[in-house]
Amino acid sequence: MTSFKLNGTPVETAADPEKPLLWVLREDFALTGTKFGCGIGSCGACTVHLDGEPVRACSLPLGAVEGADITTIEGLLADTANPVMTAWIELDVPQCGYCQCGQMMSATALIRDVPDPQDADIDEYMSGNLCRCGTYNRIRAATKRAAELNRT
């Protein structure tokens, strides 16, 4: 039995401790906002927060999150004024949208760590998140807008 906190709620699961967190979230907790893209931590579609830090859920065995605090994109929804989601909607960022939950998880950590991110900060922080539709111009703008909303 693995116990951890999921979006603020204590949970436990009997799933195999080797099972990647990604599949535990999607299959056992029906949280499908965390996406499967590459399975090797290369594309960032499965980005979640572990104790506040962005990690790739596809490459993280369930056993490694024992006692940890996991936040998924669904966990951000509780805050209806979430600055990242607000900015993403305001700037109409998504095209296919498949990578965007991972993008927003990375951006959330970025604007917390770097309150006024410049292009170089965004490029460094977000380059682990692949967008096949090429929405990067809008991701840059939305990240800055989210940071601005977060500051005020």
Partner: protein
């Protein structure tokens, strides 16, 4: 506004809706009976919601929002009350003719714009007629606005939904009267995309997210060599692994079904399976390249386009430039891996998937499994990218066979990224030999193009070996070349191919615009000035190139260390010119900025045109810099995003886009941004280094 009637509560239910046929143009219907075509429809329900059944899926291109805008504007409705849905039943009356149930060719807006307007106008006309009876005034005094029929003289109005019952008794007018241009105030503005909130809030259901009661998961183990099949399969080798429910043989391999996809995948990897040998087990990339190259010098190849006498003009010139170009195969690498969920018995099959090609699924299932259209339901989910890959869906067969092996239990088959990269449907590998001549005045006097490689669109060839999937971008060049020839030496390849965003344009644009640059250099002219001199002055290509050059301040010198390249290509009814600015740092090309001017006739949603062109530039930049698919021992070498490297945010140029409207008919938007990019970048590389890049990617030349 006074609402005089609200009978919504009495009118709920299936019967309380009003249906207007959406008639697609005759040219589109091709060989199918008109009665089927006319059953695609626009429906108004008593709650005021409008549903339009169209075959265009939402894979990121924003089509549904643009279509809603066109409908809302013509009808006089709030665009947020419009829903575009895909038909579920290939055989029901609510489908487009066979062959049209697909989302390809940048069709979504340009193709359905006129039929949608006409259907919306018909609906508006009967609503106004019903409103006239309802309000007891003349129809000429009424207007359709904001989802209601409005009588401005008295300030009275009645919501569309309340007129459904009355309007249903009226005859739909044959001749729709369209709104005048002055009333088209919604299209051309940037309304928020309809699908954005759901996508941002993780509520959008992609194929891979579909969840059904009692559903289990399938992972595949397929033969690495194309054309190979199962020689020996030992299901017992994995049946005792945790969670494994069944091992099901399918064409080319097996599906392992388990309680969890992770368990299924582990078992699939461990499965004891052998594959049959094929005649291309030893095929490697150099052999494949040589196979294609043979076509460059082949004799007696039928001529597809012949204008003037290019052979004589080239012979007569003392200034002939000759160059061979090549491009490799590419994967589509949609971020959502290939997947399909099926619940199937011999009598009835239901699918849940994100697809660009209803009709291809249907055709394939009938051919491979004998499933007829009336036995099939297809639920279309959001697509996590398409780019042409999701027109072919053999994973449907895998999911169906797996579900049948479990007595109809729903099975979601998901390919791993490695499966997605390895098992094909690639952009075709092609080569070309260009010969061209310029005169002392900088005019192109002659050109011949020999294309070599597979004929991916063979099923579309009608005459003269003209395959649009191989030759568009060459046969329709906007340049005024008096003596010009194009033909195609066809060499089949034993690899499954699929249209890749912009299809032929993805390579013909690169070739032609690089070779034009070579001719400009030979003529000793500025590349933009040379192009403008050889493009008809009134052509759309001339207009967009002029504008892109202005945007990039082409006529003033670039800053120190910055080099520029230009390109202009027409495709899918639109013209796009791009100027790329690059820097070379440690022998690596960095594209810092791209200026793009597009003429797509009319920008229904300028912000979405902008973002589609930006995305197309990024999409095209990956294979310009590094991405390629190559073979070893008959199998694909690349396996994941680590060795099929695409552009990430740290390499993404700022892409500045301008819409130019020249009064041309509507063109496509999703694809036309792709073809100019590689040429613009490689022409900038030439400006920077003097090296002419005649094959992609730049990494092969030590430049990325």
């Amino acid at each position: 506004m006074t609402v005089v009637s609200s009978r919504r509560t009495f009118l709920k239910g299936a019967a309380a809706s009003l249906v207007v046929p959406l008639v697609v143009p005759a040219a589109v219907r091709a060989t199918v009976p008109a009665d089927i075509a006319e059953n695609a429809f626009l429906r108004l329900d008593a709650d005021g919601l409008v549903t339009c059944i169209l075959p265009t899926c939402e894979m990121g291109q924003g089509t549904h929002t643009g279509q809603a805008m066109i409908l809302a504007e013509e009808l006089g409705a709030d665009w947020r009350t419009i829903r575009v849905e895909m038909p579920k039943q290939p055989s029901d009356p609510y489908r487009l003719p066979f062959g049209q149930m697909r989302s390809v060719g940048s069709y979504g807006i340009r193709f359905f714009h006129d039929p949608m307007r006409q259907a919306a106008a018909r609906l508006r006309m009967i609503l106004i007629q019903a409103g006239a009876e309802h309000l007891g005034v003349s129809a000429t005094e009424l207007e359709a606005r904001d989802g209601a029929v409005v009588h401005d003289a008295t300030g009275r109005s009645v919501p569309f939904g309340d007129l459904v019952a009355k309007a249903s008794t009226l005859t739909v007018p044959k001749e729709p009267v369209l709104r005048p241009e002055s009333e088209r105030t919604l299209t051309g503005t940037n309304v928020p995309r309809l699908d954005t909130p759901a996508k941002v809030r993780a509520e959008a259901v992609y194929g891979i997210d579909v969840t059904l009661p009692d559903m289990v998961y399938g992972a595949v183990r397929l033969a690495p060599v194309f054309g190979s099949d199962v020689a020996r399969l030992d299901p017992a080798s994995v049946e005792s692994l945790p969670g494994v429910l069944k091992v099901v043989q399918v064409p080319r391999g097996a599906v392992v079904v388990a309680e969890s996809w992770w368990q299924a995948k582990r078992a699939a990897d461990a499965l004891d399976i052998d594959f049959t040998r094929t005649e291309h087990d030893a095929l490697d990339q150099s052999a494949l390249d040589a196979l294609i190259s043979e076509g460059l010098g082949r004799e007696n190849v039928p001529m597809t386009l012949m204008r003037g006498d290019p052979a004589a003009a080239l012979d007569a010139s003392d200034h002939v430039i000759e160059a061979d170009y090549a491009i490799p195969m590419l994967a589509h690498a949609c971020l959502e891996p290939i997947n399909c969920t099926a619940s199937s018995t011999l009598e009835r099959t239901e699918l849940w998937t994100g697809t660009q090609g209803h009709d291809w699924i249907r055709m394939n299932l009938e051919r491979e499994l004998g499933i007829t259209a009336d036995q099939l339901t297809i639920n279309t989910a959001f697509l996590g990218g398409g780019f042409g890959r999701k027109t072919w869906q053999h994973e449907a067969v895998q999911a169906i066979l797996a579900s049948r092996a479990l007595g109809g239990r729903p099975v979601k088959v998901i390919w791993s990224r490695e499966d997605d990269m390895a098992f094909g449907f690639y952009r075709q590998i092609m080569q070309a030999r260009f010969r061209g001549a310029v005169d002392a005045a900088g005019r192109i006097t002659a050109m011949s193009v020999r294309v070599a490689g597979p004929q991916m669109g063979a099923f579309l060839v009608r005459e003269n070996n003209m395959d649009p999937f191989s030759l568009l971008g060459l046969v329709d060049t906007p340049y005024g070349i008096p003596n010009y020839a194009v033909n195609h030496a066809v060499t089949p390849v034993p690899i499954p191919l699929s249209p890749w965003r912009s299809i032929a344009g993805s390579f013909t644009g690169y070739w032609m615009e690089s070779f034009i640059d070579e001719l400009a250099h030979a003529a000793g002219m500025d590349p933009v000035a040379f192009r403008l001199a050889n493009l008809p002055a009134d052509s759309r290509a001339h207009v967009v190139l002029t504008r892109a050059a202005e945007m990039a301040k082409w006529s003033t010198p670039a800053p120190e260390g910055v080099h520029r390249g230009a390109s202009v290509v027409g495709s899918y009814g639109s013209f796009v010119a791009q100027v790329a600015e690059i820097q070379i740092e440690d022998d690596r090309v960095r594209v810092s900025k791209v200026y793009a001017a597009i003429d797509c006739g009319r920008a229904i949603h300028p912000g979405q045109v902008e973002t589609q062109v930006q995305g197309a530039v990024i999409d095209a930049l990956g294979p310009t810099l590094r991405a390629k698919i190559t073979l070893d021992q008959g199998a694909t070498i690349q396996s994941n995003f680590t060795d099929y490297e695409l552009v990430r945010i740290n390499e993404a140029p700022e892409v500045q886009v301008e819409n130019i409207e020249t009064g041309a008919p509507l063109g496509g938007v999703g694809e036309p941004g792709v073809p100019p990019l590689a040429g613009a970048v490689c022409n900038a590389v030439f400006a920077a280094t003097g090296r002419r890049i005649r094959s992609l990617p730049l990494a092969d030349h030590g430049l990325a």
